[in-house]
Point group: C2
Chain length 389, copies 2
């Protein structure tokens, strides 16, 4: 019988441009907030699992596990850095869950960090292209806006998804971010704003793209049996599921879907003993607007091809049937790649605690996070609940 | 009660300059050899945990977990990339052990890879410097030969360790590598050769330094209960232990010792219920010759300060009391950083199976591996045995 795992503390930095903060300051700020939130001290922590995607290129710093331990004052406990492109800190969480389930650890810090702004522009694109197939894609000039533009074009062609529907993801997420103090952008936009923004990779425009950002996010996880020692409102991890697909997009039979999302989600629903009907909100990986549409389909919230229409119906807005990206999503909350997965989880925890303020989903009992690495080569889905079973 | 874990298959590439092989080819070669050795098929594998240190800088490729899964033909199973500088694949093993212990997985591929040669020289030094404290060390010009040169100078000053004793590590390890077909160098050297080789960072010379290399190594691990289904000679993981210390060298109170080695080793002996007397051979992290001396002390094979004298006594040679780096060590087997930890484990497995040929330690029942990240910010110690208890 595997141990159940619960989250008893969370903390994150604001996402955005932090010109006076490096990896150390970001990690420390998020980590200390999480420790304070859990009401624990450093002595309670037995392991750190921290995700970052490309700290080597962005900041000249690998070995970020040891950096976490050192700058949180936790030596000599062990640290694991996980990397799975933009899903790095969701993999950190699933690894942390295994660590608790192994019986070796009873209190684990899981986190993620990325410091992306302090490089010249071309280097950021180069670093991020490390998430795709370098030899067969990036080497020939493909960029990530290009990857998702290919998916968007095909989705529009195959399912009649409109340019306007795609834009509505960004509009909704900017609206949601107005209520999230940790979001990078606090500025409402319109469909017209998206359609008039500069073209990046046809059909995607600037306001279809999540921004470069700095940030860190941390969680404290413990065995569910011990969670009430820490807090009256533990949030239980009901499913932790990960799947892989080809590193390159061109080797997939259908680029209007991300197969690893389907695999990871089906396994997650099974683990949790839930269906899509039991999920009250979802944080999905809108690195580009089109991916919110594709993901709501692959997660089962819309039939294949109907993601654009679901978005247009308003049912993914707060107050709708299945609110998506209440945090502002990657688009408006920001996307410091290694921190994104952990920050999605923090949104789930705040919603389930009833602490989400102006973006609260009424009566939320269960929520889902969906984090994609690259073009879908790695996908991690977690399901969280106020209830242990 | 935690599950015991056993190794039932191993495979590695030759270490060295592989000008016609990239990450994909290296991973595939090592992975397929390990799968063949275990007599399993891809369908049996449920998880990959793969270490690499700086594939982003060396090869423009992050997301190497997905690369592993993809190029071993194992989609959609999950993959975790671990990174802890030169200890990346030992952290992969400890993470894989947790994965088995969690009860979620019954057959895991653990591996490591690094492709280091196909970059211009300065970039390799830059990449490797990501293992130290970028902001406070590398930024001011410190390199890794410099880090270990500081440790060597102080060790010589404090304990009377001689330049000749330090050289003897390289001489022994080149001798051992003569019997290892996977080693990068098959060339005997003398103390005089070391002392006359070009000065790199005083007192360390070229032949004190482990080489840049390409390579990959893989292991198949399963619950000990199921190991005999796969092989008549499973090798049991009796201890898996990791510790952290400051990222930067200058913040340590004593640079003649690596505190994280002491912590990790003491914990490992306790886990295994063994003392140094029970260990019949050790693979230790000789990234630079001086570190073999420091490590044999910190692991308890010599009293503090006596590591040079232990080496000079011949007791760490094959046939001695405690053979060290029978594989040739990082110095002569080669040091493709992300693959090194897994390759140390392969040496332990071959010794314990009695398959080590001309470098076999007679009657070896238990062996230890010791893998260091950076200047000792991460240390992982594993103990292996022919016997389950």
């Amino acid at each position: 019988m595997m141990r159940d795992v619960a989250i008893v503390g969370v903390g994150m930095t604001k996402f955005g441009e932090h010109w006076k903060k490096g990896l150390r300051e970001l990690i420390s700020e998020a980590g200390i907030k999480a420790v304070d939130d859990a009401g624990i001290s450093g002595k309670d922590i037995q392991l750190i699992v921290g995700g970052s995607m490309s700290s080597g290129i962005f900041a000249g710093q690998e070995h970020t596990g040891a950096l976490f331990t050192d700058y949180l004052g936790l030596n000599p406990i062990p640290a694991i850095r996980t990397e799975a492109a933009c899903a790095s800190s969701s993999v950190a969480l699933s690894t942390g869950v295994m660590a608790i389930q192994s019986g070796r650890y009873n209190c684990v810090v899981v986190g993620g960090v990325e410091k992306m702004t302090d490089v010249y522009g071309g280097l950021a694109t180069t670093a991020l292209a490390g998430a795709m197939d370098r030899d067969n894609e990036a080497h020939f000039g493909l960029t990530f806006p290009g990857v998702y533009a290919l998916m968007a074009k095909r989705h529009m062609h195959q399912y009649g998804t409109t340019r306007e529907q795609i834009a509505m993801s960004a509009v909704k997420n900017h609206e949601n971010a107005m209520h999230n103090p940790n979001a990078q952008f606090h500025r409402k936009i319109t469909v017209d704003d998206v359609l008039k923004s500069p073209l990046v990779a046809d059909p995607l425009r600037l306001l279809d793209c999540s921004p470069i950002a700095d940030g860190a996010a941390s969680l404290i996880i413990v065995p569910a049996d011990k969670a009430k020692q820490y807090t009256d409102t533990p949030i239980y991890i009901r499913a932790s599921s990960q799947a892989s697909d080809t590193l390159s997009l061109y080797r997939r039979s259908d680029i209007t879907t991300i197969g690893a999302t389907i695999t990871a989600a089906q396994n997650a629903y099974k683990q949790a003993g839930m269906t899509t009907k039991d999920i009250h909100f979802a944080e999905v990986h809108d690195c580009f607007t089109i991916n919110e549409i594709i993901s709501t389909e692959d997660l089962g919230f819309a039939r294949k091809g109907d993601g654009g229409r679901l978005l247009q119906s308003g049912e993914t807005m707060i107050g709708g049937k299945i609110p998506v990206n209440t945090s502002g999503g990657l688009k408006a909350k920001g996307h410091p790649v290694g921190a994104t997965g952990a920050a999605q989880v923090i949104e789930a925890v705040e919603q389930l605690r009833g602490d989400a303020g102006g973006r609260q989903v009424d009566g939320a009992e269960n929520g889902l996070t969906h984090n994609v690495g690259g073009s879908g080569s790695t996908v991690v889905v977690h399901i969280f609940s106020r209830n242990r079973k």
